[in-house]
């Protein structure tokens, strides 16, 4: 090893560590403990679970990116691999960067052909230690995870006090578990300190770059946003990666939504028999004046199509969280994508268009979740909050969640009994204010006035049955005006101007954010300057088309195969698609800065070189 140490990666507070484990082995909590310990040392980090559609036995990975500079998108490549899964040994080994490190359980000897000579190999006899220390098979398994954490703490120069503190917090109330965990931690730590030179080239040093940021998943944050946004009815059907959103809503409600005196629930959650039923319940509840939502993923959106169309035409405020994944069936569903943009934007039969919100991280998931209920009530239409697996199921380091004390719910245009008594004219589909949004009454509002019959399309302005063409056209034109109003109400895009003036722009959205920020820095170092626009909602704000018009070429960076956002931009803005250059990442892993830099760099290098080449004989 000595001869190779010269080549070893040396890096402080900036590396990627990946844990290769077997699903169901209890590694998840030890790995999360590692990530949180890094944060407690004041060093920014992000974590990503890469897991199979399986409960026990298949490979699973946990990747932690540590970056003092705060670049927390997936980077690509691994500096130190904690290889705990023999099944994936070869591919795990191959993923290590040259000069990187391999940490593995050396109990069972492996032939030299199983290693690489350009990396540092650290073999710890984890099974031997466990067999020596524990008699119980389950304990041997679980504590092995804590032992490797202990070894890493010494190898990477981690603050052991931070880990110990986290263990005490984690097992608070189950105090008998604290001591054995601390002991296991120390077993690993002792082994490393005695048997290996510590620290290795990858090191952690306490800094103060985390501040008051929090570490949270998008599903957890979105569910809390639904609580803050006043949702009282949740109907859902289990589907990865959205199930934890509904489950988190249930947890948050238990805490925040019990009547203080009676302890009864100020909410109702139904796990429906399928997605058709869950969206049906949401539509029924919203029709009846409750703020209601469902959480689902692509296949659920497919099943909900008919109801989404009805909700559009009947103008019912439904909120739908779509935590996007690779689809369909099993397998890719545990991987991330942004591939439901078109299926949500145009969900259902007939001429329909829907409002979509694109949060960039868990913090915006919280904000947009709450906002979605106001928008749905204001616009009386379904509103989609488009998360993805990367945002929804991974812990992200984000600014703390905040709520403005003075903020009030916007319940939209609800006609009251007092207004009806005062003789205000009520026509359910009458455009009184010129914004395309009619007034509605809730069932039970008034004994004699304001009742109406809800249907899809066969109706006139007063909700009377009508199959007349002009009535239909009149209604459809008003729905377009309403969609136009939506442009002014949804979150505006965020523009960033490059340091040097440029003819090139890039549009991106959602979980691409951190990778994009990092890519821009790297491109800038190469002399490539890009203005950027982060789209946060559909329908697109005028700013989006101004941005496109202001640049010769605009890269549209997204995580799907068919350039879905680009399609939507081209259709809505009547933009020549040639001006929108697709940058597409869709292998199921989160997009990386390296990918964006290479894809955009390759194109722009060609553009720059092209005249030269032509000049040659």
């Amino acid at each position: 090893m000595d001869g190779l140490s010269r080549l070893s990666i040396e890096s402080v507070n900036d590396f990627v560590i990946k844990f290769a484990n077997v699903n169901g082995s209890g590694s998840a909590s030890a790995n999360a403990l590692f990530a949180k310990s890094v944060l407690r040392m004041g060093i920014p980090a992000s974590s990503r679970n890469i897991f199979p559609s399986n409960i026990q036995g298949l490979p699973t990975w946990y990747e932690v990116r540590i970056c003092e500079k705060g670049h927390l998108g997936r980077r690509g490549g691994v500096d130190i691999m904690v290889a705990m899964n023999p099944q994936t040994w070869d591919e795990d080994l191959a993923e290590i960067e040259p000069g990187g490190y391999l940490f593995y359980d050396s109990t069972k000897p492996l032939p030299p052909s199983k290693f690489r000579d350009d990396i540092t190999v650290i073999g710890a006899p984890l099974t031997t230690i466990c067999n020596r220390e524990y008699n119980d098979a389950r304990q041997r398994q679980l504590f092995k995870n804590i032992i490797y954490l202990g070894a890493l703490s010494a190898l990477l120069n981690m603050d052991v006090a931070a880990i110990e503190q986290l263990i005490s917090e984690q097992f608070r109330g189950r105090d008998t578990l604290i001591r054995p965990n601390l002991r296991a931690l120390n077993l690993g730590r002792e082994w490393a300190l005695n048997e290996h030179e510590c620290p290795i080239g990858l090191r952690l040093e306490r800094v103060d770059k985390v501040g008051d940021q929090i570490f949270i998943t998008g599903n957890d944050a979105a569910a809390l946003g639904a609580v803050y946004g006043g949702a009282t009815v949740c109907a859902w059907y289990p589907i990865t990666p959205s199930s934890s959103l509904a489950e988190a809503f249930s947890n948050h409600c238990r805490r925040y939504r019990a009547d203080p005196e009676t302890k009864k629930k100020r909410y109702a959650i139904i796990q429906a028999e399928d997605e058709l039923s869950s969206i049906g319940m949401v539509v029924g509840a919203a029709w009846n004046g409750a703020r209601a939502f469902t959480a689902t993923s692509g296949p659920g959106i497919s099943l909900m199509q008919e109801f989404i169309g009805l909700a559009y035409f009947a103008e019912i405020p439904a909120v739908i969280f779509d935590v996007q994944r690779g689809s369909p069936s099993t397998g890719m569903p545990t991987r991330t994508q942004q591939a439901d943009i078109l299926s949500c934007a145009f969900a259902s039969h007939g001429d329909t268009k829907h409002v979509l919100l694109f949060p960039e991280d868990p913090r915006e998931s919280f904000l947009f979740a709450a906002e979605a209920f106001d928008l749905a009530d204001r616009l009386q239409t379904p509103v989609f909050v488009m998360l993805d697996l990367d945002i929804g199921m991974n812990d992200w380091l984000v600014a703390p969640l905040a709520w403005d004390e003075n903020r009030r719910y916007d319940r939209g245009k609800l006609m009251t009994a007092e207004q009806l008594d005062a003789g205000v004219e009520f026509g359910r589909y009458l455009d009184v204010d010129g914004d395309g949004i009619p007034y509605r009454t809730l069932p039970g509002t008034h004994p004699t006035r304001g009742a109406f019959f809800t249907r899809g399309t066969t109706k006139d302005r007063y909700a009377r049955y009508s199959e007349e063409g002009p009535d239909y056209v009149d209604n459809m034109q008003r729905l377009l005006r309403k969609f136009d109003t939506a442009k002014r109400l949804v979150p505006r895009p965020i523009k960033r101007v490059a340091r040097e003036s440029t003819r090139y722009g890039a549009i991106y959205f959602g979980s691409t954010s951190p990778a994009m920020a990092e890519a821009l820095e790297a491109l800038e170092e190469r002399g490539i300057h890009l203005d950027t626009l982060r789209v946060r909602a559909y329908p697109f704000h005028e700013d989006v088309f101004d941005f496109v018009a202001g640049h010769d070429r605009v890269f549209v960076v997204e995580q799907n195969r068919d350039a879905q956002l680009r399609t939507l931009l081209a259709i809505d803005g009547e933009i020549d698609p040639a001006r929108l250059v697709p940058i597409l990442h869709y292998d199921g892993t989160p997009i990386t800065a390296r990918f964006i830099v290479k894809a955009i760099g390759d194109i722009l290098d060609v553009v720059t070189l092209a005249p030269l080449r032509r000049a040659l004989p």
Binding site: T232, V283, G284, P447
Partner: protein, 351 residues
């Protein structure tokens, strides 16, 4: 058709109910169904039941799926909010509506195609969930609106005019409802208003999932003599197990009956169901024997009608899930939003 307004004038001596309403106040638009359709009789029975119970019309929500039956909510309770939803999916919309406001009366109107064919799943699950509602299936064994195709309750061996023979076994919604845990199950015939009106009244007063299967002959497509859903067949084979009177708490009980012939059942809201036994050995409180009785009589070609099963003190979805007593849609921001202070703690727990 619906442009023809019904004259609002009525005879000054029309009887009024406790709210001062006449039955005309419970009517809807003029029906556009075929002349003689059984469904119109059911609409009339619903109007009668709501009038007699003195229900404020605006405190009723009527929901339906798609089909001839699902068009009928337009033809009754014109002062109630209505929702003509998605084919086979009325139960989920009704469930959601009920979750939002537990204080309204929910009428779910469906048909055999809507409930037994496309909507069998939602039919089953809303009964399992004990949603407080009256679920009426206007059962004619045929798709009327699309002109005469079989539904899943069509008799095995029945024929479409110039079309194929149905070889599939029929679904018995009453048997399913009993098995699925509905706490009120009845069957009636659109041509027997005397039986149907009290049944609907009892179902409205019932707390929990109340299901009524109403055989409602389709005069256009399925009223042929061989059909078990025809007027003639049901008249000839109708075996009512009981006759029902519904007595509200405020009503005075006057009549006397011979012992053993009448049973009085008190429901959770104090309403009393007076059951006149017609089949002496039929017990509407025993789910299992009711199921066996129905199967036996069905095998003999009889159509058993009446109040087939009732669990008078059943719970509903709200009681089972422990929601607050006031409607969820009336909770205000202070009751719903934990506010900024709670976030401080939440954030601290995520560091």
């Amino acid at each position: 058709m619906t442009y023809i307004a019904k004259p609002r004038l009525h005879h000054p001596k029309l009887p009024t109910n406790a709210l001062g309403y006449t039955h005309r106040d419970y009517e809807g638009a003029v029906s556009t169904l075929c002349a003689g359709c059984g469904h119109d009789s059911i609409s009339a029975a619903i109007i009668q039941a709501c009038f007699e119970l003195s229900l404020p019309p605006h405190k009723i929500a009527k929901l339906s799926g798609i089909g001839c039956s699902s068009k009928t909510p337009t033809y009754f309770l014109g002062k109630s909010h209505g929702f003509n939803s998605v084919h086979g999916r009325m139960p989920s919309v009704l469930t959601g509506a009920n979750l939002a406001n537990r204080d309204l009366v929910y009428l779910g109107i469906s048909g055999d195609g809507d409930s037994a064919s496309i909507g069998l799943g939602q039919f089953a699950h809303c009964l399992r969930r004990a949603v407080n509602m009256v679920y009426v299936v206007e059962n004619n064994g045929v798709y009327g609106l699309t002109k005469g195709q079989f539904s899943a309750t069509a008799d095995k061996g029945s024929k479409v005019r110039r079309g194929p023979v149905n070889t599939d076994s029929p679904i018995d919604l009453v048997a399913l409802a009993l098995q699925l845990g509905a706490s009120f199950v009845g069957r009636s015939f659109s041509g027997d208003k005397r039986q149907l009106v009290p049944l609907i009244k009892a179902a409205i007063e019932h707390r929990g999932a109340a299901f009524i299967d109403v055989i409602s002959p389709c005069v256009a497509f399925n009223n042929n003599p061989e059909s078990t859903k025809s007027f003639d067949y049901v008249r000839a084979h109708n075996e009512a197990v009981n006759r029902l009177d519904v007595i509200l708490e405020r009503d005075e009980i006057t009549a006397d009956y011979a012992p053993g012939t009448v049973e009085t059942v008190t429901q959770h809201d104090g309403s009393m169901l007076r059951l006149h036994k017609l089949a002496p050995d039929y017990d509407p409180h025993d789910r299992i024997s009711a199921m066996a009785y129905l199967q036996q009589r069905h095998a003999e070609g009889e159509v058993v009608t009446g109040l087939l099963f009732v669990e008078p003190d059943s719970d509903d979805l709200h009681a089972l899930s422990g929601t607050v007593e006031i409607p969820l849609n009336s909770l205000d921001e202070a009751e719903l939003c934990p506010g900024p202070a709670a976030l401080v703690q939440f954030n601290a727990a995520h560091r």
